[in-house]
C-alpha cells in the first residue's frame, strides 16, 4: 500500500486547498448556552460522562485521597515556595518579545501572553522552538468547549496555522459502524453539537484529514513520530506517554488548549518532561514475573504506585526481539504505558535496554534517592484482583467486545483478525456471538483491506467492526453500562468504565461463545 509518512504527506498538503470560507461557524456564547439547555430538568442526561475513575483523580485503589501533589507535568513542585516562584520570569528572545508586543498581530500576541504566563507559572527558563508535528486531544464537539473552539476559530480567521500539519484524537462517535441506531444517535448528536465546528477549526489550522484521526498518532500508517530529542507540545495522555518514552521526544503532559496554542505559536515553555532534569527517574520498577507480564496490569500497577513520577523499568526488554521497538511489538508498550497514564498520570517511563533515553544513558537516569517497586507474580495477581466486576447485572452475559484503546496498530488488527476468525472456524461458526469493535484509524483499516482483503472480509462477516471512533468515550456515556456489558483487552478502558478486562485468549473464548469463562 501507499504507506503514510506523516511529515512527507502533510508537507505536501495544500494549505490553500481549504479555500472556501463560510465564516464563523461555531456558536456565539448565547447560542452555545442555549444549546446546553435541558429539555425539562437539569438532570445529567445520557450523553454525560459516567467515568468511574479518572486519570489523576487523586484517589487510591481504596477510594481514598492519596494526598498527591502532582502538577501533571512530571515535575514535582512539592517544595516550591511562593516568594521564589512569584519572582520567576522566563527570558524571551527579541523575536519572541516582538510577537508578545503585537508585531505579528493581536492573536499571536495573546497566544504569546498565554505561553509566557503559563511558562512562568511552572518555572520555565525559556521558550523553545517546536519541531516534528503537534498532536491534539481536542476531539469532542461538546458545548462546554465552545470558548475553546471559538478561540481557535478566531485564530483560523486571522490566518494562523499550526507550525506543521498535525494529528488529532479520534472523533467521539461513529454513526456508521457503532451508534447506528436511534437511541445512540440521539445521545451523540445531543452531546456533540459542535463537532462540525471543531472539525472545521482543525481543518483550517492544520489537520484536515479525518482518515488519520487517532490517539496512536505515532504508528507507521500515520507517521507522526518525531525524531528522539525533538521538542513538541502534545496532548493526549497515552500519546504523550508513548512519545516521550518510546520515541524519545520531549513534551509535557499538556491539557487541551495549551497544545494548540503552542502549535500556533510554534513554541513551548521549557520545563518538566522537556528537560534533562525532569526526565530523571525517581522509581526503579523491577519486573520479576515468571512469564511475560500482563501489560495492562503492569501499567496499572506502575501508575498507581508512582502517580506522575518517572519510572525506570527493568526486566521487560527481553520481550522485545533484538532489543528494538518495532511496528510488531510497540503495542506492548502502548498497552502498558496507556495504563500508567490512566491509573496514574505518568508522562514518561524508561525501559532498560529498550527506550531511547535508557539506551543512551542507562541507569544514570535514576535520580539520587530513587525508590524501588518490585512487580512479581504475586503483585500481578494482587493488581488483577482489584479489577472488580462493575456490571450492574453481574451475572449477565457479555454483549460487546472492545479491542484497541489506544487505537489498534496494523499488527494488532491482523493478530485479532486471525485469532477470532480461526477460533470461530474451529468452533464451526462464521459469526462471533457478540459484536467485536476494532478501534483503529481509517488508514489502518484500509491497509488491512488492501493487504489482507480475504481476512478483512472474514472479519466483517464475523461481526468484527473496524471503527475510527474513540471507544472509551462511548463507554463513558451515562447509561452505557445499562445498555452494554462490555469486555476489553484495554486496561485504560477498564480504568475509565464498567467494561471488564481480560487476557487475550479469554477474550477470544468469550467472543466465540458469548459466555463468561466458568
Amino acid at each position: 500500500m501507499d504507506r503514510r509518512d506523516f511529515i512527507k504527506v502533510s508537507s505536501s498538503l495544500a494549505w490553500g486547498a481549504v479555500v472556501f470560507s463560510p465564516g464563523t461557524l461555531f456558536l456565539r456564547s448565547d447560542e452555545a448556552i442555549a444549546a446546553m439547555a435541558p429539555a425539562a430538568s437539569a438532570q445529567v442526561p445520557d450523553f454525560a460522562s459516567a467515568m468511574l475513575t479518572s486519570d489523576m483523580l487523586g484517589l487510591g485503589p481504596d477510594g481514598k485521597p492519596t494526598g498527591q501533589k502532582a502538577t501533571f507535568t512530571g515535575a514535582s513542585k512539592a517544595n516550591a515556595k511562593a516568594d521564589e516562584a512569584a519572582k520567576h520570569q522566563m527570558v524571551l528572545t527579541a523575536e519572541e518579545q516582538a510577537m508578545l508586543d503585537g508585531e505579528k498581530g493581536e492573536e499571536v500576541a495573546k497566544l504569546m501572553k498565554i505561553l509566557v504566563l503559563f511558562g512562568n507559572t511552572f518555572g520555565a527558563e525559556k521558550l523553545v522552538d517546536l519541531g516534528g508535528a503537534p498532536h491534539s486531544n481536542l476531539y469532542p464537539g461538546a458545548p462546554y468547549l465552545n470558548s475553546m473552539i471559538k478561540m481557535l476559530d478566531e485564530c483560523a480567521e486571522a490566518g494562523l496555522k499550526s507550525y506543521a500539519p498535525y494529528t488529532v484524537n479520534p472523533r467521539p462517535y461513529d454513526v456508521y459502524n457503532v451508534q447506528n441506531n436511534t437511541k445512540e444517535m440521539e445521545i451523540v448528536y445531543d452531546g456533540y453539537p459542535l463537532q462540525k465546528e471543531l472539525d472545521w477549526v482543525h481543518a483550517r489550522l492544520g489537520s484536515p484529514d479525518l482518515n488519520i484521526r487517532s490517539c496512536a498518532c505515532y504508528i507507521e500508517e500515520i507517521g507522526n513520530a518525531p525524531e528522539p530529542g525533538t521538542y513538541v507540545a502534545w496532548a493526549e495522555s497515552s500519546a504523550v506517554n508513548y512519545g516521550n518514552s518510546a520515541l524519545g521526544i520531549r513534551t509535557n503532559r499538556n491539557g487541551a488548549g495549551i497544545d494548540l496554542i503552542c502549535a500556533l505559536a510554534g513554541k513551548a515553555p521549557l520545563f518538566g518532561l522537556m528537560t534533562d532534569e525532569g526526565r530523571m527517574a525517581t522509581w526503579l520498577v523491577d519486573v520479576k514475573t515468571s512469564k511475560e507480564p500482563d501489560w495492562g496490569a503492569l501499567g496499572t500497577a506502575i501508575g498507581r504506585k508512582v502517580v506522575e513520577d518517572v519510572p525506570f523499568i527493568v526486566g521487560i526488554d527481553t520481550y522485545f526481539e533484538g532489543g528494538e521497538i518495532t511496528e510488531d511489538n510497540l503495542h506492548l508498550l502502548k498497552a502498558m504505558g496507556s495504563a500508567t497514564a490512566a491509573s496514574g498520570a505518568v508522562g514518561l517511563y524508561h525501559v532498560e535496554n529498550l527506550t531511547p533515553d535508557a539506551k543512551d544513558k542507562g541507569r544514570k537516569l535514576l535520580a539520587e534517592g530513587y525508590e524501588t517497586y518490585v512487580y512479581d507474580d504475586a503483585e500481578e495477581q494482587k493488581i488483577i484482583s482489584t479489577f472488580d466486576n462493575l456490571w450492574p447485572e453481574k451475572d449477565g452475559d457479555p454483549t460487546a467486545a472492545f479491542i484497541g484503546c489506544p487505537h489498534n496498530t496494523y499488527h494488532e488488527m491482523l493478530k485479532w483478525g486471525k485469532l477470532v476468525t480461526e477460533a470461530l472456524e474451529k468452533a464451526g461458526k462464521e459469526e462471533a456471538a457478540i459484536p467485536v469493535y476494532m478501534f483503529c484509524a481509517n488508514v489502518v483499516r484500509n491497509r488491512l483491506i488492501e493487504e489482507h482483503g480475504e481476512l478483512a472480509g472474514k472479519m466483517r462477516r464475523a461481526n468484527m467492526l473496524a471503527t475510527p471512533m474513540c471507544g472509551v468515550t462511548w463507554a463513558g456515556t451515562k447509561g452505557f453500562s445499562d445498555r452494554v456489558r462490555g469486555v476489553t483487552n484495554s486496561a485504560k478502558t477498564r480504568n475509565y468504565s464498567t467494561i471488564r478486562y481480560f487476557p487475550d485468549q479469554t477474550l477470544v473464548d468469550i467472543i466465540v461463545t458469548g459466555k463468561m469463562p466458568a
Binding site: 460522562s49 512569584a86 504566563l117 511552572f122
Partner: protein, 149 residues
C-alpha cells in the same frame, strides 16, 4: 475567630472579599461540573463530584474556592472556560499547593483571551488549607496575601 494571614503566589492577581468554599481534598475539575458541562444548567454550579464530601451538591457559582490543587481529565481546562462563559464560574481559586497544569491552562487562557479573570493564587501552604473552613470570611489582596477570619 482570630484572623490568620497567608502569603501565596498571585498567578492571576486581584482584590476580593467574601466567604470561603473549601474542599480539603483535591478538586476534580471535570467531575465537579458535569451538570454545567452536560446537563444544561447555566444558572448555578452544583458540585457533581460524589467523591468529594466537602463540596458535593454545593453551589460553586461565584465562589472563592480553597483547595490543595485540581485533579481530573485533561479536558479540565475546557470545563473551566465553559463555566466561565456561562457566568457560573468561580470568583477566586486559592490553592495550598502548586497549581496543576490543567487548571493553570484553563484559567490563564480564559483570562488572556476573553478577559474573564478568576483571581488565582497558589502556594498558600498546607497550613492555609488546615485553617480555612467553608463559610469563613476571606480577604484577598493584590500581592497574593490571603486573610482568613
Amino acid at each position: 475567630m482570630a484572623k490568620k494571614t497567608f502569603k501565596g503566589r498571585p498567578i492571576l492577581p486581584g482584590t476580593l472579599e467574601g466567604e470561603a468554599l473549601v474542599s480539603k481534598m483535591p478538586f476534580n475539575l471535570t467531575g465537579s461540573y458535569f451538570e454545567n458541562m452536560f446537563a444544561g444548567n447555566t444558572e448555578s454550579a452544583p458540585c457533581t463530584d460524589a467523591n468529594n464530601p466537602d463540596l458535593y451538591q454545593k453551589d460553586m457559582k461565584g465562589a472563592i474556592l480553597c483547595t490543595s490543587q485540581c485533579v481530573g481529565s485533561t479536558m479540565g481546562a475546557g470545563a473551566l472556560m465553559g463555566v466561565s462563559e456561562m457566568g457560573v464560574g468561580l470568583k477566586a481559586f486559592l490553592f495550598s499547593s502548586h497549581i496543576d497544569s490543567i487548571a493553570a491552562g484553563g484559567l490563564i487562557i480564559d483570562d488572556v483571551w476573553y478577559d474573564r479573570r478568576v483571581i488565582t493564587i497558589d502556594l498558600l501552604g498546607d497550613e492555609f488549607l488546615e485553617a480555612v473552613n467553608t463559610g469563613d470570611p476571606i480577604s484577598i489582596k493584590e500581592d497574593g496575601t490571603v486573610e482568613v477570619g
